[in-house]
Structures are given as C-alpha cells and as structure tokens.
Symmetry: C2
Subunit: 451 residues, 2 copies
Amino acid sequence: MVNTKILLDEAEIPTHWYNVIADMPNPPAPYLGPDGKPVTPEMMSAIFAPELIEQEMSTQRWIQIPQEVREILKLWRPSPLYRAHRLETVLNTPAKIYYKYEGVSPAGSHKPNSAVAQAYYNKIAGIKRLTTETGAGQWGSALSLAGNLFGLEVRVYMVKVSYEQKPFRRSMMQTWGAEVLPSPSNLTQAGQQILSHDPNCPGSLGIAISEAVEEAASRRDTNYTLGSVLNHVLLHQTVIGLETRKQLEKVGDYPDVIFAPCGGGSNVGGMMFPFLADKAAGKAIRLVAVEPTSCPTLTRGQFAYDYGDSVGLTPLILMYTLGHDFVPPGIHAGGLRYHGDSALVSQLYHEGILEAIAVPQLATFKAGVLFSKAEGIIPAPESNHAICAAIDEALRCKTSGEQKTILFTLSGHGHFDMLAYDKYLSGELVDQDYPEEILQAALQNLPKIHG
Amino acid sequence: MVNTKILLDEAEIPTHWYNVIADMPNPPAPYLGPDGKPVTPEMMSAIFAPELIEQEMSTQRWIQIPQEVREILKLWRPSPLYRAHRLETVLNTPAKIYYKYEGVSPAGSHKPNSAVAQAYYNKIAGIKRLTTETGAGQWGSALSLAGNLFGLEVRVYMVKVSYEQKPFRRSMMQTWGAEVLPSPSNLTQAGQQILSHDPNCPGSLGIAISEAVEEAASRRDTNYTLGSVLNHVLLHQTVIGLETRKQLEKVGDYPDVIFAPCGGGSNVGGMMFPFLADKAAGKAIRLVAVEPTSCPTLTRGQFAYDYGDSVGLTPLILMYTLGHDFVPPGIHAGGLRYHGDSALVSQLYHEGILEAIAVPQLATFKAGVLFSKAEGIIPAPESNHAICAAIDEALRCKTSGEQKTILFTLSGHGHFDMLAYDKYLSGELVDQDYPEEILQAALQNLPKIHG
C-alpha cells in the first residue's frame, strides 16, 4: 500500500522558525518614515509587541519557537503533505505532485500559524487587546482563534461590504469571542471622517487598516496585528516549508519546482524560504509565486517605495506595487487582492531568485474543480492559483516526458467560498483583468521619497 | 511534550469492518414487507447492490474492506484522536477527555466512510447512477464525493426548503459533479402527486426518500443509497471505533464512557459497536447515545414496527420510533431530525446494553461554543450533542473527584452551520421541545402488522 499522506509526529513540529534574511544575498531595504528616514524600533513599539519588532529586524538565521506557541500549533500541526496520486492519474502525467494541506487548522487556512505567535508575544508583553482588519475574514478568524486561546480581547474591523455579504466568517470570529465591527465605523477618527463624506461607504481594506492602526496607537493596552506582508509574519509561516522538507525527506524526494499563491507573500515566504538556501548552494529548484492577473503585483507592478495601506498611514516599504490607491476588481480570491507585496518576496523576485506568474480567475476555478474531483478537498480560491500553475506544469511534463517533482501549497479549504464555486459552475464568473492604461495610471501616484 | 493528537499510519486503517450482529445476545428482528412477512434479498435487489444486501443480512463478525475502498479512505483516514487537554483545564476536571475527529474528510463529516463503500459496491455491480435524498446536505455531499471518485453519476433529491435556504452544501455537491434537484420535483410520480396538491410544498425528508427510491426502482442502471439507519451503513462506520480502540491502546487508555450523537444511528454504531464485545465480556463501559429533546426517539419513543420513511414506502423496521408521520421542529442539528432509529441501535438500547439521554438545543450550542473556545474546532450542531453530554460528565467527575476516561465522537465541523451559531450568539435560538400530548398523538399512527 503506497502512502497518500506523509505525516509527522507532533514532536517534529519545528523548534525554530527560519529567517531568510540570514541567507539573502543583499539585506532588505529599511522601512522608511514620512521623513524618508529608516523607521526605528521605538516608532514601531506604539502598535507592535517588542519581540515581534525584534523579529521584524532580526538577521539571526534560526529563531526559537516558544513552547507555548508549539503547544497551540499541536491542535492541528504538523499538517499533512499529500502525494496527489489521483490527480497525477487524471492528468496522465509522469510528474510527481505533492501538496502541503494547511486547511486542517480550525480556521481552515495557514493564517493561524502567525496569529498564534503574534497573540503569544502580545500576551507576554502585557497587552490585553488586539485590533486588526479583515476583508473576507480569513485573517480575522485566525486572529480571533489565537486571541481567544491566549485570553486576549480581539476587535476586528471587517470591510463593511464583506461584513454584510459574507456573514459566516464573521459568525466564526464571534464564536471564538471576538468583536467584529463593520468598517468604516464611528469608533475612529478615520472612520468618522469617511462616513461624514459618504455615510454609505462600503469600506475597503485600506480604511479598515487605518481604523485598526489608529485604535492600537491610541490605547496603551492594545496592539495591532497584520496577517501578511511583514517579515515576522513570513517568519512564522516558515513552519510550512520546514515541515514539508522533513516530509519529503521521509519519502526520499525533493521538489524541482514549488508553487504558492501570492497576495501579501505569507504563503510564498512560508513554503519557499526554507528551500532558498539550497538554491543559493546550487540546487536546481524553481520557486514560483502565483498571483491573479487582476492584481498582478509582481508581474506588472513597479519595484519602488510605497505605502502598505491605501491612505498612507504605514511606513514606506520597498516592494513591488501597483500603487497604494490601486483597487483590484472583486475577485473571489480575496486574500490575493493586495496592491503591494512583502519586502522580502519583492527583493528576492527583483534579484531573480523567486519567479512569478499570473493566472486568470476562470482558469483557477477550472483547476480547483478538477482538483476537487480528483483529490476530494475543495480548495480556497487563493489556493486554486497554485493548483492552476501546478497542473499546467504537470501537463508540460506530460508533453515533454519529464518526471519532475512538483510541490504546491494548498493554503486552505473552500468551505466558506462556495458562493464563488456556485458562480463558476453556473457560468456567471468572468475574468476581470485590468488594461495596461489603468495599471499605469495607478503607478503615477507612488509617493515621492524626501530622503 | 505531551501529545495532543494520537495518530495512526495509513497502514493502520482497519482491514475489516466489525459486524455487531455476531456479538448481539439476540439476533435483530427481520424487516417486514407490507404483507407482514420478512423482506427477502430479492425484494431489496431492485434498489441495492448485491454485496450491500449481503452485508445487511450478514452474521459474520468481520467483513473485509476492499482495497479500492481503503485507497479512498486514505484521502483523510485514519482520523485523529484528540486528547482534550485544554478543555479539561477549562472545566477543571480530573476526568480525561478524548474525542475522535471525523471532520477531516473532504465533506467535513463521518458520512463519506459509508458513501465510499456504497459507491464502490454499486460500481462493481455495474450500476451507473445513484440516487439519494438529503436534508441539510451532509449525506448528499458525502455521496456526491464518493460517486465522483468511482465515476458514478449521482442525483440528489434535496428537501426544497434546504435547497433554497442552504445553497452552500448544494454548491459542494455540484462541485463534485452531482445533480441536485429540489424535492418535490416533477421527475417522479411521488413528486408530481404532491405538487399537484400543493405547488409550493417546501418538501420533507420523507418525500425526498420517496422520490429517490421511486427513481432507483424504475431504472435498471440506477440504485438507491441511504446515509444511516441500515445495518450495512453502521457496519461501514465501524472504522471510527476500530481506529479509536487502536489509538487509545497506543496511550494505554480505555474509556469508562462513550458519547455519540444519535439520529439514525450511524455515529453511535460506528463508534460504540467495536467496544460492545468488551462490555459483554464484563468491562465496565457505558455507551450513551445522545439525542435532541426535540426528537427524542430512544428516550420517549416506542419500540415497535414502523416505516423508515414518512409515506410508508419502505419495509417495516422494529425500532424506537416517534411515529413515521412525526415531524420534528426545525432544529439546526438536521442530521438528528429522524423519527426512528437503526434497528441495531434500537434493539441494543431495548436490551439495556446501550443507554440514551436527550439534551435541549440551547445547551448543545452552549457546549459547542465552550468547546470551540478551548479546542479551536467549531463543531457541527449534531456533534454538539455529544460534547454537551461529555462536558456534563466531566463536571460530575469534578464534583465526585472521579478520574474517568470520557470519549466522544466529534462527527463533523460546523463550517456550513455558522448561521445556527449566529442565531445562538445573537440570542435568537430557542429550545423547541414537544409536549407529551403531541408525542403521544404521533404514536397513535403506528402501522398495524398483518402477520
């Protein structure tokens, strides 16, 4: 009997996170303040826990995972690595396909890997409350779960249109005890200002970030948390790639190519960074970020300093960006609708170490349905991007006869996204890609650096 | 580091199902036809595959699981057994609590364990199509998954009110390629008859069964499948209890009491039957079925011959029943809204080998939320019944100081049931228990046996 799942014991949950900065050919560019000068740890301490700021700036290769965090990770980790025997048969490919399934967490995605660590460090820093923003609710639910497990209050500013249209992830957050507010709200100056101009404003991720940051900055007992983009978030997600390495070792295999969906970069960093040193040492491994053609940050954006949020409250980050006021169309892979990208992912892509491709929405759902029928699991729309690229690669192998080993991240299940599948199956879903002129227009608004 | 999950290798998926009939003190009473005479295999062959009929009537203790079925089970089995460390701490109980988590299947519940076996046996019997009924969609989605994996067409008659109000499990079935029809439909005589009287009929499980059975009986290439109640369904579910026994052996433990939610009996049979021989051999183990007070089949029903469906198309089954025309209130644990119960579970309860208790809806949601906050996983409303009973037992242990080992089945996750949590959290949910007079009235309509 050939194994379908490659499992690890709980004792094999990584003891340390891997910090890719130690192995990057060039150090990442610093975050800049409004004055064009590098942001200091002191400036960040108004809204972040000290250990998280230290991790954000650390150059140490291995950072120990606190025992308290590992204890919580045991509720769902190590996550299974699957050999996709049935998908290989359906595709009739000589390639071997593996996928790491992160949908086994109680929130149904990889997001809790960092939420648990962030909640823990805030707890030991004496913080009582956490704020964050959420769109469709994947990160908000992860933080609600983690905050509850460490006895912290959580307030989630949820983009109003999602709050009203997608009530089920909201209910999930509330079940774990979080307070969920439609954003813009009346509780912050940012929210009040926007509502005074437009009382029916449907909200945006940028506005929700502004509200969550404003509240955290104004209250001593409260900190802010983010679910992607930042170095420490990607650091926490490296448990994904570290476990995968061990699992592949158990079956004597190694990937020729890895695909992960790419929004802010937490999947890409989490899976690929632990394989990066091998590449530097000469291993022929391709690391490919997969983004939507409707939000093509890496493939069509510009490598420049830009704000992390829409209204310009955050420091400036050197990253691939479509412009901080770029509003991507309402595709169903909500987690990939971000104008920018992690500084680390951006720099590694800029230096040719990571690759990137963009795939259109319809193709991703076609791939997701094919995958569901072969492997059973119905994937999140974000995950369908990696699946789409992996299937294309497997079909290329069919043509070429190559017996490549393909690995991808199945970052979450699609049980909260069935409306999207419904629309795809009924033929209502369309590709929503932006013409060059619109992309170019948004790039005109990049901030000027007064350095 | 103490383990949270007790895992098995794929090679430890059971090789045989356990047939409890071999160890029952008295053989189960036969199913009876309309003439009061026992139903023969020939009569069943119009709608069931030959191997399933054989299993339905078998007295053999162990029945081999086909390799093809085990290969599919590997997509999610063995399922994890959790030691509920965090729940124990929250309850401050000296009891040890274990739960077997069946929500890891692609459909999110234990139902695929039998769906895969039923699809397989129909496939090798040359059947091309399967029909079934579904209420909220848990069984329909399991059969859609399984049918697709074996290349069978699946048609699901879904109770119309659920079809319209709960679109997401429908989308799930359609993603796996099944055809889902609102019932009553115009495709069957049963459906046409009902629609001619009431064009706006919202449907019921009884009507949907009639439609699915009628279609299967009228087409040679088509068979019918059922997700609970029948002996062969409970047989297939014994992988749950068999795995659990092995997992507890690994940590040197054994349950003093087992709780499982009870609707048609597939959870109770699946988890408890493999422990039954121990009880007969003198082990002091309690096996407790947990049902809703709003559908109290075992605790307030009558042990009598009754129909399995509402309109009287099925054979007569000797079981605990509330009367085949009893319509339970619309509680959110849709899987427990069945007027009758498995013949095997009924007889074992009648003989005092199994126990049963009933719990009200609000208490089950209170227990489910407490569990979610401690253990992370948000349970299905059905599972909350077992959780409620397990927590009560753990709190009794706190009072008495007993260090009991408590085991329960967490039969599925609640990701498709967040509306129910929403209503509970917002205070809209109420207990809907039936007064004695109504229960007595339904029991007046039990069929007369012309034996």
